[in-house]
Assembly symmetry: C2
Homo-oligomer: 431 residues x 2
Amino acid sequence: MNRTLAIDVKNHVGEEIMLKGWVFQIRPVGKIKFVILRDRTGVVQTIILNKEIDISNIERESVVTIYGKPKIEKQAPGGFEVEVTGIEIIEKAQSPLPFEVNRATELTNVKIDTILDHRPFSLRNSELASIFRVQAEIVRAFAEFMRADGFLEIHTSKIISAGTEGGTNLFPIEYFEQRAYLAQSPQFYKQMMVGAGFERVFEVGFVYRAEDHETSRHINEYLSLDFEMGFIESEQDVINEEIRLLKYMFDSIQKNCAEELKLHNVTLPKIDAIPQIRLSEAIKIIKEKYNKKMEIENDLDPEGERLICEYAKQEFNSDLVYITYYPASGRPFYTMPAENGLTKGFDLLYKGLEVTTGSQRINNFQMLVDNMRKFGLKPENFEFYLEIFRYGMPPHGGLAIGTERLTQQILNLKNIREASLFPRDRYRLTP
Amino acid sequence: MNRTLAIDVKNHVGEEIMLKGWVFQIRPVGKIKFVILRDRTGVVQTIILNKEIDISNIERESVVTIYGKPKIEKQAPGGFEVEVTGIEIIEKAQSPLPFEVNRATELTNVKIDTILDHRPFSLRNSELASIFRVQAEIVRAFAEFMRADGFLEIHTSKIISAGTEGGTNLFPIEYFEQRAYLAQSPQFYKQMMVGAGFERVFEVGFVYRAEDHETSRHINEYLSLDFEMGFIESEQDVINEEIRLLKYMFDSIQKNCAEELKLHNVTLPKIDAIPQIRLSEAIKIIKEKYNKKMEIENDLDPEGERLICEYAKQEFNSDLVYITYYPASGRPFYTMPAENGLTKGFDLLYKGLEVTTGSQRINNFQMLVDNMRKFGLKPENFEFYLEIFRYGMPPHGGLAIGTERLTQQILNLKNIREASLFPRDRYRLTP
C-alpha cells in the first residue's frame, strides 16, 4: 500500500489508507482517543474507537504508521478524520522532550539559545519550520527572476588568497602549506565574470565575516544573494533591477507562502517605487528631526537606520528606503566615485535594517589601480582580479542581499539567528 | 537609444540601432572592414563602408558601442549584418592578449594551467564559456526537479566542529579562539533536517576535502548536489529518485543547452533504467573478464571504475551503472548495514567516473551509537547530530552528486578543473 500524505487524506474518504509521520498529539476524550499525526504536509486527526488498539506505549514525536479510513468530520482540523484500524511504531521517541513543539504559543517562552541548541527538534514546531519555507521561496524566486532577466548562475570559490576589503575580518584557513581565507563576498569573482563576457551573473552562496559583534543582526556566516550586471549607465540601473527583483520576490512569497505569512501575522508591502535619500540628507534628518547625535559621517549606525526608516514610513509610507551617495571613505576601493568625494554606492534599508549593499563599480583599469593605492592596497597582490580590467571591462554594478536579514525583516523576527538553520556566531559552532 | 543585443539584430532590419559588446574580430577585406562584435547573446557582423569611420585605434577585445543599420546578408553569421554609422570605444583592451580566444581551435594548444591562470579572460572563448552554461542548467534542473517532488531547499553551515567521516581530510579554520573545520559534506545536517520534519530536503553547496591527490578527477572544493529523503523502504527508493532526477536533468540540458552540446559534439544518453551491479560481482568481472589485479576489496579504483563502465556499455548499452552493496569497511558509519557485512550503500558511475555516492542511512538511535563506537568514534562528540535520532527519526536515505564531475562527464572534458570556474587544488589558490 502506498503512503497517503496528510494533505491528501481528503481525496480518500471511505478507502483504506496508510499514513506515516510523527505523533503530534495524543488526546483522550473519555474512552475515545485521538492521535494527531504530523507529516511534511501538515497534520491529520485520527480517532481510535476499536478498544483492541492499544496506544498506551506510544510517546509523542514517535514515528508511526497508521492504517485507517478517512471520513468527513467537520470538527477535525481540515474537516476530515481517519478512523484507525491499526497503528505501528517505526521509531519510538524518548521522553521527556527538550521542550514542547506542538503548540505554537508555548515556544515563545523558550530562549533562542535553547531553540538553537536543539535546532532540528525545534523545527518540529510549524511556526519555526515555516521560516525556512519562506527562506527557500526567497532563494527560489531570486534565482528564477535573475535567470529570466538573462543572468547566469555562477558558483565561485569561497577559499581565497586575499580579502575583498583589504584583509580585515577574515577567517584564516590552513590550506595545505599555504595560508588562505574564507571569502567575505564573491565581489571580485562576480565582477570578473561580468568581464569574462557573461555580462550578467548571480550567485547564491555563503560568505564569511570574522566580525566580533554579538548582536541580533549579525551572524558570521550568511547566505548572500549576489548579482552583478554589465553595460549599465549608472547605479540607478542596479537599483531599478533590485526594485523589479523585490517586487517579484514579494509577489512570489505572497502567492506561494500565504499560510506561512499567516502563521507570522505578516502582510507584505506592495513594492512600486522605493524612495531614495542621500546619506548627507539622511544624517541631517536624523540630527534635526530626531535630535540624535551622529558620531560618524560616512555611514548610519543601527539607531540611525531605524530612525531614517521611521522617517521614510511617515513621509513616503514606505517600509523600504535607499540611502545613496555614501562618501568614498566608507565604501570599498572598487566603488565608482561621484562628485565631491562621494560614491555611487547605496544601501537598502527595510524596516530599520540594512538588507542590501550595492554600487556602480570602477571599470577602468588605471582608475581602479590608482584607487587601490589610495586605499593603501598593493595592486600587485590583486593581479588575479585586475587582469580582466586590462582587456576590456564594461561599465557595471551590482549588489548583495543578506538572505537571513531579508527573512528576518519579512517575518518580523527579533533575532537574525531565527532565520538561519545553523547560525554561526562568536561562540556558536554547533549544532 | 536602448541597446540591441546580438540575438535581436534580426528584428531591427532597416532601423538605426545601438550595439554594445567586445570586439571579437577585425577583418579587412580589400578596402572594406568588418568588425565582429560579441555580447552575452552571441556575435554580430558589422561592416564599415564609410571611409570617415576610423577604426585604426581599435584593439580586439575592447569594449565598444557601435551604431548602425541591420540588413539581410546571407553570408554573415546568423544571416544579418549591420552597416556601421558610428563607433565609440568604451574601454580599450591592452595588447597582446594572453592568448587567442576568438577561434575555438586555437585554445586546444593552450595548457589547462595557462587557461586557469587567466580564467576570466579564457571565458571570452565561447566553447569554454559554454561549459558553465551547461553547469548552470544542471543546477537549475536539479533544484526544479527536487522542488516539484516535495523537497525543501536548505542551506546548512560549512563551518563545523567535527567531521562527518571521523576527522580525516579536513581543512582547519581559525574560528576566533576555537578550532573549526570546513564541512566535507552536508551529510549530518541534511539527515537532521529529515528528522526535523521536512522529510525531504536538498542542498546546492560547496564542500571541502583536504585530499592530497593531484589528479584530473579531484578538486579540493566542489559543488555538491545533495538530497535526503525520509520514509523510504530501502536504498532502492533513493536510486529510483535519482534515475528520475537524471532523466529530468538530461532532458532539460538537451532542450535548453542544445547549442552548447553541439559546441562539444555531445549527444546525451537517453536514461530509462540504469543497470545495478553488486561490488563483489563488479570486482569479479574486472578480475576475470579484464584480467586486472584488484588490490582492494571494498571499493573500485579509477581503473576499475573505467573497466566496469566499459562492461556496462557492452553488456547493457548504458553509459551509467550503479555499483551496490559496498562492504561496511569502505563506507561511513551512518550507512545502513545489509547482510554479511555489506551495506545499503551505492555509487553511480558515468562513463568511467564516480559521480554519485548514496545509501540508506541508519535511523535507529541505538544502532547508530553502536556503529559509531565500532568505527572508533565517540558518540559524545556528536551529540548535536545524534539528538534528533532520540526523538523519532524515520527510515531515510540520500545521495550527493558532484556537479563538476557530472559536467565533466556530460561534456567529455579531460580535466575536472575545466568544469570549475575557480578550481582549488593542492597548489592553486588563485585566481
